[in-house]
């Protein structure tokens, strides 16, 4: 009896072991479904009648955003503009694209285009870091598409990008060259500080046309406030992304931007606005000169610059890089050791044997720090083995000796800009160590 039961058990097991039907959760295989999805995205991308506007946020430069125009064809070709620079705004470039499932449905731009300029590891192409570029992407996972919008995430650096269906107007703006890049004229305003005024509000503004960033500084209830935002170029000017807002105003865009009479004029929320030169900034970091000086002193070190003075829009205005065997320029407080009295604006010269030596330059007594945040250098003569042609040295020396002195602006933990308090049009970028 027991044996019979066991026999029966085996027979039943054998029979059921063969149950073959599986009920698929989906009506098609994964391969078929992924191909259906790709086909759907392909259709979405290629059937937008006026192409796509795109906004790319490079992961390597938080806050920056770049505007693009794409028109995808079914033959794997994409026509493109980008607001990266004047050339890419004005000239259409065609390259290739395709959709591929790389774990997710992905949109690949697979030959070089304006989009790749942001990713190029040659920093000479985009002002980023060598080996990294701006940390942007050209292969994107498609996160989803709804209505007029497609959301993308870069596969390599994780940059975000958004595609929005373009209107006929958007398309014409690019193809008819109507993108307004007048804001770039900010580089023709020669002062270090720029003043932005609108509707009774005043800000200090810095615009970085390479990284597409705007920085606002203002005073609110006696306190200095700062905010940064990205921007893209539009047919009327620039559009801030995201919008800038303080307690009194929200700024989405600069419209009707024009360069006239040495200033940038435009409208903000329909009211007139302007960016113009200013010698004095709104907010002065009064402690900066002392901080700058003390940092080098405490580290028994120096501040260095390659170009020396930038004057009236010109780098290396004194021509110091042309000095014989010139390496770089330093400001070395108490050069003979702590407690000694001589500061030296030391010119560093390359030696034939290799290595660099501080060789000559104007000397200074301890600088004067004014209560309003300026540093004044007290010249006491030239030191060292001077070269035969001293033009560049004398020019630099006379700029340094300006009795009005300089403001200092800390731009990062180890960089300061030293700006003339007389006209704001000459400055030195100091690099610390």
């Amino acid at each position: 009896m027991r044996n019979n039961l066991i026999c029966l058990f085996f027979i039943i097991t054998g029979m059921f072991a063969c149950k073959k039907e599986t009920d698929p959760l989906f009506d098609k295989s994964p391969d078929e479904r992924i191909n259906d999805t790709l086909a759907r995205y392909q259709q979405v991308l290629t059937t937008a009648p006026y192409g796509w506007k795109a906004f790319v946020y490079p992961a390597g430069v938080p806050g920056s955003v770049f505007g693009f125009y794409f028109s995808f064809s079914d033959a794997n070709r994409v026509q493109m503009f980008s607001d990266f620079d004047a050339a890419s705004t004005g000239t259409m470039r065609e390259s290739s694209w395709r959709l591929k499932a790389l774990q997710q449905p992905c949109l690949l731009f697979d030959t070089y285009s304006y989009l790749h300029v942001l990713s190029d590891p040659d920093a000479g192409q985009n002002g980023g870091q060598y080996g990294q570029g701006l940390g942007s992407d050209f292969e994107f996972a498609i996160n989803g598409a709804a209505g007029d919008t497609v959301w993308l995430t870069g596969r390599f650096h994780g940059s975000k990008a958004i595609l929005v269906k373009a209107t006929p107007q958007d398309k014409d703006n690019y193809f008819q060259h109507r993108i307004n890049r007048s804001v770039d004229s900010i580089s023709a305003i020669l002062t270090y500080f720029h003043k932005f005024t609108t509707a009774g509000n005043r800000y200090d503004i810095r615009i970085n046309p390479y990284l597409h960033q705007v920085n606002f500084t203002w005073i609110s209830n006696g306190k200095v406030k700062q905010a940064s935002t990205g921007y893209v170029y539009t047919a009327t000017g620039i559009s801030l992304m995201p919008a800038f807002t303080d307690s009194t105003i929200t700024i989405n865009s600069f419209d009707q931007v024009k360069w006239e009479n040495g200033a940038i004029t435009f409208t903000v929320n329909g009211k007139p606005a302007a960016i113009a030169e200013t010698v004095t900034p709104l907010a002065i970091d009064a402690a900066a000169p002392k901080r700058w000086y003390q940092y080098a002193l405490q580290n028994e070190s120096y501040w260095a610059t390659y170009y020396g003075f930038h004057v009236n829009g010109k780098d290396d205005a004194c021509g110091i890089t042309g000095l014989p065997a010139y390496a770089f320029l330093t400001y070395y407080p108490q050069i003979d050791g702590p407690g000694t009295s001589l500061d030296l604006l030391g010119f560093v010269v390359k030696q034939e044997t290799g290595g660099n030596v501080i060789s000559y330059g104007p000397g200074y007594d301890a600088p004067t720090f004014t209560s309003d945040g300026r540093i004044i250098f007290n010249d006491n003569g030239l030191y060292g083995n001077l070269p035969a042609d001293r033009t560049a040295i004398n020019k630099t020396r006379s700029l340094m000796a300006d009795p009005m002195g300089f403001y200092l602006v800390q731009t990062s933990s180890l960089t300061y800009d030293m700006v003339s308090a007389r006209d704001g049009k000459s400055w030195i970028n100091w690099q610390g160590f």
Binding site: C18, N76, R77, S96, A101, T111, D120, G131
Partner: protein, 299 residues
């Protein structure tokens, strides 16, 4: 009990009696994106390289062909025909003229991968070319490829272009010696001077020890193919100039000028005789042809 032993195989047999429908194996849909509408460029590559030589050129981006942690960009489409034409002129046509089409088709690497940018290394240097297994050659910095017939060419651009040919000749040299080994005496010429530290050695320091480039110091095989590629790309004159540039005195490793020069000359002679005996190629004639083509492109 015997019944049991019978039942178990029976069960197993039944358990296995499945008829699986594999579906249509002729048409597996895949993951998509591996085909695209052929452009005139695709057609040019197919007609010029794939049909005659079975060489494929991959210019559309595929990160998996490269180091996965490197930021790189794809090539500009307009650079691809100039690059591949130059390669055909300098490397393919010269070998074919000297050794015949059959030789070339049999041994050439079959897979070229192009990157628009250079590959930036941690130490600030850049890589301009790599190769794998005698089959795949990766060329970088295609976007900066400029020859004298192209707009904006400066003499300094020639370094990039020469480096590209250097990579290809180097890799092809590997294929040749991996097929038939060079004489073992070659390894004795500079025995004891090979080092893993080659990347910290300057060109001149390497020459003073009797190596044509620092990379030649990394291994016997590299030494051999660096000799081949440098001699081909620089030409006879260029190679003589390298030999003659070795200054008086002894190197850090105690090699005199005469020793270093004699080492390079011994290696040269061995390369030439290897090409003649193994491949029936007149190396000097190949060298003249190669250099002539490079001169035409660059100077």
């Amino acid at each position: 009990m015997k019944a049991f032993l019978l039942i178990i195989p029976l069960c197993l047999l039944m358990a296995c009696s499945k008829k699986e429908d594999l579906g249509n194996v002729e048409d597996i849909p895949g993951l998509g994106g591996d085909t695209w509408a052929a452009s005139p460029l695709d057609k040019w590559l197919h007609d010029t390289l794939t049909v005659p030589f079975n060489i494929a050129v991959k210019y559309k981006w595929d990160q998996f062909e490269f180091e996965l942690n490197k930021t790189l960009v794809p090539p500009k489409e307009e650079k691809i025909i100039p690059v591949m034409s130059a390669i055909r002129q300098v490397w393919m046509d010269t070998y074919i003229a000297e050794a015949g089409a059959l030789f070339f088709k049999k041994y050439c690497p079959k897979y070229f991968i192009l990157s628009g940018s250079a590959s930036w290394n941690e130490n600030g240097t850049i890589t301009l070319g790599t190769a794998e297994g005698g089959r795949k050659v990766v060329l970088y910095l295609v976007n900066d490829f400029l020859t004298k017939s192209m707009e904006g060419y400066k003499p300094s651009d020639s370094a990039n272009v020469k480096q590209m040919f250097h990579v290809i000749e180097h890799e092809f040299g590997h294929i040749l010696h991996q097929t038939v080994m060079y004489p073992v005496e070659f390894k004795r010429i500079c025995a004891g001077f090979y080092t893993g530290n080659w990347n910290n050695i300057s060109d001149m320091a390497a020459r003073r020890d009797g190596f044509v480039t620092p990379y030649a110091m990394s291994a016997f095989d590299e030494d051999f193919v660096e000799m081949v590629s440098t001699m081909l790309v620089e030409g006879k004159q260029g190679f003589d100039a390298i030999v003659n540039s070795i200054p008086e005195g002894t190197s850090i490793n105690g090699v005199t000028k005469a020793e270093a020069q004699s080492r390079l000359r011994q290696k040269e002679a061995m390369v030439v005789s290897y090409f003649l005996t193994v491949w029936h190629i007149n190396f000097y004639s190949l060298q003249t042809r190669t250099r002539k083509e490079i001169n035409q492109l660059l100077y």
